[in-house]
Symmetry: C2
Subunit: 346 residues, 2 copies
């Protein structure tokens, strides 16, 4: 199509200053949140509904640490919000709003900003929250995106890490290890051919790594039924161990019950990874929840209603039982991955 001669001239590739950047890219993300005051003041107002309590968390993504070189800005933005929403969801909190402090290494280009803002827009739509404020700086270092997320729970009903009880069933959402395999495929593109993965499977694993989707729909089920929960960010076994230590209990995971996706099963079958690798892989951003047996039926019904897959993978035990995972033969699973020793009980 020929260009309309009345069309405005093309805009500069780089944007002028912080105020223009805020008005053009950040303010639309705050449009539906009255407490953001259009991002025109120094602070935002967070109104907590009557009977509710505000739950807050903060997590940063830093390029070169949490973000691979050349990552799509749209995916960086999505993940920066998702890792924070993951913490809220695991606490039974409904996402409400977020603040973002972003440090940009280069003069911000419109194309980059547009893609980054589109990632935030998609993520906040998916997770049900809005931008409430922030801070944009230049940095001599790598890109960094630090988000503080706000959610609400009914007063006194935050699901803690410290309250698991012996006898509780242990559930996980989704599938375990897909994000770790997505990362492995980025680092070793040959892995795909060796494991005979089709392009769709590769894309699916990559999406679990680059655009994690914490199970927001499970919030009501967690609030109603979970005795304790946390999100799985550093690997299922490491985080299960943390939850057990924080609660002063032991726990048992039956490794064959750990839910795996079809591509993950294919990779294990082809020798590209072990189940133990996936159980310590990290970046799942699924929820690990403990549910008293009397509530397990209701939890499964509510999860089903929410369209969230939950799988019972084990049981909470007395502290003396320690934290173990066993295979089909009842033998302890050996985790070769560095790090396991650092957090095992002494």
């Amino acid at each position: 199509m020929p260009r309309d001669p009345n069309e405005a001239p093309p805009r500069e590739r780089e944007i002028g200053g912080e105020e223009a950047l805020i008005a053009e890219y950040w303010a639309p993300l705050a449009a539906d949140f009255p407490g953001a005051l259009g991002l025109k003041d120094d602070c935002a107002v967070i109104a907590t509904p009557a009977g509710a309590e505000l739950i807050v968390t903060t997590d940063a993504l830093i390029a070169g640490v949490h973000v691979l070189p050349g990552e799509d800005p749209c995916a960086i933005a999505w993940k920066a919000l998702a890792v924070n929403i993951s913490d809220l969801v695991a606490k039974g909190a409904t996402p409400l709003a977020y603040l973002m402090s972003v440090a940009l290494p280069d003069a911000p280009e419109r194309a980059w900003l547009a893609s980054f803002a589109a990632g935030l827009a998609a993520a906040q739509q998916a997770f049900g929250c809005r931008l409430a404020g922030g801070d944009t700086d230049r940095t001599p270092g790598p890109l960094s995106v630090s988000i503080t997320a706000f959610g609400t729970v009914p007063k006194g009903r935050m699901v803690l890490r410290t309250t698991a009880q012996p006898g509780d069933r242990v559930y996980v959402t989704g599938c375990i290890g897909d994000a770790a395999l997505g990362l492995a495929l980025r680092r070793d593109p040959e892995l795909r051919a060796r494991c005979k993965l089709d392009a769709a499977a590769r894309r699916d694993l990559d999406a679990h790594f680059s655009r994690p989707h914490p199970p927001v729909a499970l919030v009501p089920a967690l609030g109603a039924c979970a005795s304790a929960a946390m999100d799985i960010s550093d690997g299922l076994m490491k985080d299960f161990d943390r939850l057990c230590r924080a609660s002063g209990v032991g726990g048992h995971i039956e490794a064959p019950h750990v839910p795996l996706s079809e591509p993950a099963r294919a990779i294990i079958a082809a020798g590209g990874a072990t189940l133990a690798d996936l159980m310590s892989g990290g970046e799942d951003y699924e929820v690990l929840a403990c549910v008293p047996p009397a509530r397990a039926g209701e939890f499964e019904r509510l999860a089903d209603k929410a369209g969230t897959r939950v799988t019972c993978i084990g049981t909470i035990a007395a502290a003396a039982a320690g934290v173990v995972a066993t295979d089909r033969a009842g033998q302890a699973v050996v985790f070769g991955k560095a790090g396991w020793d650092h957090f095992s009980r002494s």
Copy 2:
């Protein structure tokens, strides 16, 4: 004194992992804030008192951008919290708590961490808030400290930037320009001798730059009397212009009324800086407040009671009058500093 042979052996210079770092340095800062849950969970609970509303803000300090090379970690920490508290105070909010996301470029050494934590401890004591949670990462880039601060106001009573009215008196707290002179003395140590400053004056100016002290005690007076306010972080004239633009008004500052410290007067007298330099210097972290004439008496009484110096430096006018500062002869003050053109009205 000889070392006690029963004393524990000296600890390692570097600290082991994130959990040890949190337990040793961050958890004591959260000890008095129940919602922090001892920094042992993934989220914190922020309870807002009945009838109050939560006000939030986020600002980051990045080494090499906002922090001079070799700056004392104690001062970095103080300033990282102070710049956020400054935003809260100017909105009439009482500081409550903060989250901190810190990215460390090197393996964290105990001496550095102890000094940094001591700076936070002193600042949170001075400002009346507590650490509620955070995130600690390693970074290949410079040190960065991103803080989100929470404060409370009576419901609907946040002091906005957008609500100044023609006829309002314009007040500032403290003295203007001391922080800019503190920075100038760091960059040009000869300036001290040229202006015949004694060591105490130099230390005082440096403290205004490196450990700003937003006037927390003024919060009740601002809430009771101010029609609009913001903190002064980018220079008095630039921020006054922003406030006037946001409110859709004009404004007049009488430059001779701008409060200056004794050392600042001495430097101006010696030709080391001009009043215009100080009025556009930045980093004051004082409050710029607009007060209707009918409330001015009460505002001054409340400020006096709070022990906070406030000075009336001008008046809000209709938009058509523009934003100006005049000297003793009634002539417009010329601001030579780069940046003024970028934010002047067109």
